[in-house]
């Protein structure tokens, strides 16, 4: 009797598990659907984008005659140069930004000084204010400093990122003080402790913070417009938006551009996914 009950319970559990997994997979697919639709339409001529949309049919989401014409058309647009510019600007931001943010986070987490709490509050508040809100006065300052239409002008606002400092500080706080004491006994100064103890232990959270910095620049749209970037300094999102003509939109080319600009951060995030999740899950653990 009891074994029958147990079997029925375990059966029910298995069924529940399968049901939940199927539901999860369906929801996952729903999230993927718009991206997939964009991808399929990037393989179709622009005039055909809406042809199969209503009523929904199998051809809405599949095409038997894929063509790379839209991707070829991208080559003659600004998007190629813009993608390189975006990669350059984002990479420099990640490298310099990580150096700055990790040092700031270290100072806030490990070095006791008067007013560190206030500094930390300022940092937190800084990332709660949307960047767009300060972009206009900031652009005026940059113009006065002759940083308009320069790579420096594009990179600078992305370097000090409050969110990245917050993430790193929380992680640094979890590093046992005993290790710092041991380092001190071995004659390490603050720089040595930071360089030899904190950084090597914090690779996952550095990657998490790096992704935050990367995405800030990769999606940057308002700032390059305000900063008066010309065709040589153009960034990906602007070039993509420029593909939308005033009178006619070729959705095929536009979707191809979107796919290119999506695939790059997607590859980076998937590549670092493991570390990113680790950095979030271990934040605050003691």
């Amino acid at each position: 009797m009891s074994s029958v009950t147990r079997t029925s319970i375990s059966k029910r559990r298995t069924l529940g598990y399968i049901g939940l997994s199927a539901l999860g997979a369906c929801i996952g697919l729903l999230f993927l659907l718009p991206l997939w639709w964009t991808f399929v339409n990037s393989l179709r001529a622009g005039g055909d984008t809406f042809r199969f949309l209503d009523p929904l049919q199998w051809e809405t989401f599949f095409t038997l005659t894929p063509s790379l014409d839209n991707y070829a058309a991208l080559l003659s647009s600004d998007l190629g140069l813009a993608t390189w510019n975006s990669i350059f600007v984002s990479t420099v931001t990640v490298i310099i930004g990580l150096a700055i943010c990790s040092m700031a986070a270290f100072a806030l987490a490990a070095i006791p000084f008067k007013g560190s709490g206030v500094v930390f509050i300022v940092v937190v508040v800084s990332f709660l204010i949307p960047f767009d809100a300060i972009a206009i006065p900031l652009a005026d300052l940059f113009r006065d400093w002759n940083l308009q239409n320069t790579y420096t002008g594009l990179i600078l606002p992305g370097l000090g990122n409050g969110m990245a400092i917050f993430l790193l500080r929380t992680f640094f706080l979890a590093i046992p003080q005993d290790l710092v004491e041991a380092g001190r006994l071995d004659g390490l100064g603050w720089w040595g402790i930071f360089r030899r103890i904190y950084l090597p232990l914090s690779v996952p959270s550095l990657i998490g913070a790096g992704l935050t910095l990367f995405l800030f620049q990769w999606q940057s749209y308002v700032w390059p417009l305000l900063n008066g970037t010309d065709a040589q300094h153009i960034l990906g999102p602007i070039a993509l938006s420029n593909l939308q003509g005033q009178f006619n939109v070729d959705y095929g080319v536009m979707f191809a551009g979107s796919i290119v600009l999506t695939v790059i951060p997607l590859a980076i995030i998937i590549g670092f996914q493991r570390y990113f999740i680790q950095s979030v899950t271990t934040t605050g653990l003691k």
Binding site: D54, Q148, V222, L225, G228, N242, Q244
Partner: protein, 391 residues
């Protein structure tokens, strides 16, 4: 010299090349700003006296506001020349407080495109391209329903479904006027019987399924290209696009309401000079070339199918546009020339245009989605009155 606008660089490459060939000591560098961000970007950069913009494109109905803000150089010394070179509506649209602030480069109109295959399937006769045989909206709606019944998905579609530019003629034709009156053009007038009639008719086209909801402005022409729409109201730029698509189309005058007046949209872009520019002399030369010089003005339309503002250029351009459309576009040159002088109704010149366009755009969107017309127009009028009080 720096030139800023919302178009693809290829659009202005021919005029820049022609200008530089004529003026070897001046080089023009063009930067593109996405259309949706053009106004906000200009506001910010011109407001900060950014001297890296010399010449920029001016959306004609926004000219008075830009001039009032001090963002445009006074070009009144070119008044007489401009008046002689362009149609009256294209001259006066550049005036604000009796001074001229920009030179007109492009003009526009709207046409009724129809899908011949779809009309044939329903046995509906083609509308004629002759302006004297202009059809009424009532006729078109009846025919469109018949075509829809014969299997075409949508009967009628306006290219910029929620834009004042395209909907103004509906109200004008129904006797409602532009929606703005008063001495300074700062009194709202969108609740009169003409406006209500036009908007009720427009609302019905969506309620009855003649036009699709949920398709935004400028997402519309691909629907016509793919053969899903019987009648499509669009601009001359569509001639270029449709001639590349495999839909069998024809063109006719934009309809009017039975018993009402005939009205079509007009106006497009002018170019102006930034008062903070350090290259004003060169900038002025460039403007004169692009607007007042026939060959220069024609060069601005080489890469995009749009009507040049200069009258002499228009005369040379229209037959070319008709030829581009081939058999589909028979009678197009005569039709556009007629609309330019006979039916064109410019958007009102007012410093309150930006708010007007924005608030009415939202009202059009709601009306299209089923908001009660009277109430929604009253609400828009109230919002506008409040917004204009602060000017």
């Amino acid at each position: 010299m720096n030139f800023l606008g919302p178009e693809d660089a290829a659009t202005f490459a021919p005029v820049i090349k022609a200008f530089e060939a004529k003026n070897p000591d001046i080089t023009v560098k063009y930067s593109q700003v996405p259309f949706d961000q053009l106004n906000s970007t200009l506001q910010q950069r011109l407001g900060a006296k950014d001297d890296t913009i010399d010449v920029y494109t001016v959306d004609q109905p926004r000219l008075s506001q830009l001039a009032a803000q001090g963002f445009l150089e006074d070009l009144s010394s070119l008044k007489d020349q401009t008046e002689a070179a362009v149609p009256e509506a294209q001259y006066s649209v550049n005036l604000y407080q009796d001074k001229m602030w920009a030179l007109p480069v492009w003009n526009s109109t709207q046409l009724l495109f129809f899908n011949k295959t779809a009309l044939d399937a329903a046995g509906v006769t083609y509308p004629s391209a002759d302006p004297s045989e202009r059809r009424t909206w009532e006729q078109i709606a009846t025919d469109a329903k018949a075509v829809q019944a014969a299997g075409t998905q949508y009967g009628l579609l306006l290219e910029q479904v929620e834009a004042y530019y395209q909907l103004q003629p509906l109200a004008e034709s129904a006797g409602g006027g532009s929606g703005i009156t008063g001495k300074d053009n700062l009194t709202v007038d969108v609740t009169n019987p003409g406006w209500e009639k036009a908007m009720k008719w427009y609302s019905d086209t969506f309620a009855s399924g003649l036009s699709p909801r949920g398709v935004g402005g400028f997402q519309t022409s691909p629907l016509f290209s793919s053969g899903k729409v019987a009648y499509f109201v669009g601009g001359p730029w569509d001639v270029g696009a449709f001639s590349k698509a495999d839909v069998n189309w024809g063109v006719a005058p934009m309809p009017y309401f039975e018993g009402g007046s005939k009205a079509t949209p007009t106006g497009s872009w002018s170019w102006g000079i930034n008062p903070a520019s350090k290259n004003k002399a060169a900038a002025k030369k460039f403007l004169e070339f692009a607007s007042l010089d026939t060959a220069g003005n024609l060069a601005t339309t080489e890469a995009t199918t749009i009507i040049p503002a200069n009258s002499a250029a228009t005369e040379q351009y229209l037959p070319k546009l008709e030829a581009l459309g081939g058999d589909h576009a028979k009678g197009l040159a005569k039709l556009i020339a007629n609309e330019n002088t006979e039916t064109a109704k410019a958007r009102p010149v007012t410093v309150g245009y930006i708010q007007f366009e924005e608030i009415m755009g939202k009202a059009f969107a709601d009306i299209r989605n089923g908001s009660p017309v009277d109430e929604r127009l009253k609400q828009a009028a109230q919002q506008l009155t409040d917004a204009w009080k602060q000017l």
